[in-house]
């Protein structure tokens, strides 16, 4: 692999690595939102239950 090819691969990998990292962050965020929503649903259920 020539020097030019190495730098070219590095530039493309940086961009696609960043997109991949972003996808990981988004999936973590969706998981957190899902957990928050489940917690709120549970809270709402408890409040609606008799004596809650």
């Amino acid at each position: 692999m020539s020097t030019g090819e190495k730098y070219l691969a590095a530039a493309y990998l940086v961009v696609f690595g960043a997109v991949l990292l972003y996808l990981v962050i988004i999936s973590l965020k969706v998981t957190r939102l899902e957990r928050d929503l489940a917690e709120l649903t549970e809270l709402a259920r408890r409040q609606r239950a008799p004596g809650g």
Binding site: G4, Y7, L8, A11, Y12, V15, A18, L40, R48, G52
Partner: protein, 232 residues
Amino acid sequence: MLSCAAAVLVLLGLGLALLWAPEDADQGISQKIFYVHVPVALTAYAGFGWAAWKALRLLWTGDERYDLESYTAVHIGTIFGVLTLVTGSIWAKVSWGVWWSWSERQLVLFLILFLFYSAYFMLRYSLDPGPRRQRSSAVYALFGVVLIPISFLAIRLAEDLIHPVVFTREGPQMSDSMFATFCVCLAGMLALAAALYRVELTGKRIDERIRELRELLATEPARQPVLTEVRS
């Protein structure tokens, strides 16, 4: 749909850049960094421009939903800004032998633009949520957009440039196949940014609604039995 279009265009652009577009006579294969660096830079400008447009809409109409849209656009623009600086540095190292050149006005102006928008987050989070924060953030986003045409013109006004000028008044200074590849790569990056913007905005909106819901549930427990009675 947008995400699929982004994936197809980015992969197509990658294939065209690596397999179809000819190698540059002077720089060789490293010139192909152009197909990722320039579209990423233009997408960063588009993100900041979109943020300014949404900021203007906020100031014009007072509709607070534009605040979140402007903030998300700055967020996306900053991510692409980081990628512009990193890919640009890699290209600079292989072409000029240095990672950075302070004598290049366009590089320095892009760095200033990037730092300006990075400071946007500091301003935003130093203020309490509300109309004051929305207006201050909008004004800041609008000021930043002024730097974009300056950054664009800088390279054309520079006298001692080593940064290449590809788009001149005579049109693009490259072959048709190179230009076609560049257009596909640019369309791919813009579609990718639009898809990320949409996902990020949806996430932020859901986050905001969950916060509101949490506050409502925490402060109004007495209303719940009434709701139960009405429903039954």
